[in-house]
């Protein structure tokens, strides 16, 4: 169990760094969604299923969706 927890902690650190290092906004939105799922798994592995469910629906779905919609609107302006 502790090996699993250590591995998910490592994955969270790696994917969070990936979000920061991704400079292209569209790719970053996808990356933040992936990071949201990994963070949800972390909460689940640390025995907080309630928080994990909130994290997955908000961090992996709702937040990237709003970023994508805002990007679409911004591109419409730029054209």
């Amino acid at each position: 169990m502790e090996i699993l927890q250590g591995m998910t902690l490592l994955f969270v650190a790696v994917s969070a760094t990936g979000v920061v290092l991704t400079r292209e906004p569209l790719a970053q939105a996808i990356m933040v969604s992936f990071y949201g799922i990994i963070l949800g798994i972390l909460f689940f592995v640390f025995q907080a299923p309630d928080v994990a469910l909130s994290q997955i629906v908000v961090g992996a779905v709702a937040l990237p969706l709003m970023i994508l919609l805002a990007l679409a609107k911004a591109r419409g302006h730029a054209e």
């Binding site: 309630d50 469910l53 909130s54 709702a62 969706l65 709003m66 919609l69 609107k73 419409g76």
Partner: protein, 264 residues
Amino acid sequence: MSRDSRRTLFLVASVGFAALFLWGLAGLPDFGGYDGVYGETLNRVALRQRHATNLVAAVTFDYRGFDTMGEEYILFAAVVGVAILMRAQRDEEEDTPDDDARDRLTPRTSDAVRVLGLGVFGPIVLFGIYVVAHGHLTPGGGFQGGVVLATGVVLVYLAGRYSALRGITPGASAELAEAAGAAGYVGVGLLGLMASGTFLYNWLPFGTTGLLTSAGMIPFINLFVGLEVAGGFVLILTEFLEQTLVVREVDSGGPQGESGRDRS
């Protein structure tokens, strides 16, 4: 401030922060250690007192139900704020709600996405209702279930068109759901006030542990929170989609056009 003095300031500050941070880390409890009192106490008494197998729900919707009401109204205020920000401005007009409007060349949604979206819509809505209804028994509850329900609505947009989305959320239904959910929470609180003199008092019979009808008022609060959250998220998403697909700036050269260019 010169470059050198800025660097000195940063170095001094970061050394100080690192020292305090390491000092703080050294004082942390051991991994998995817990020396609070409330958690242990609740683990012992909550199941007996409230007959709710999901202790998190018993805490958030009963023991500290008033705090959760505040949180619900934070979300409510945020959604209202987004709706106000996203309203059609004076220098904008609403276009025909068509994905292919103007120069935006959207490829036709592929058949795979359409079939999958339509096939998954039912199960997702059912799962959302399940998560809301079983909030006091299993992990989940009004907030999580509400967002799941809202993602079902997004699927309709993904698989179909914007007009299909407006079709299943006609007019003010999302606003109505959000307002009814927010008001319902206060209503439950006021019922407790009338029944016993304490706001949000859980006065219903607690029922048999593990059944859908147990835990007194907690399932009702979950239901109202689910309604509020689902309505709020659908409202935010439709406002965003409206901004992206429907609202267009008025072309410059028109009667009100010249002021519109400056502000954008």
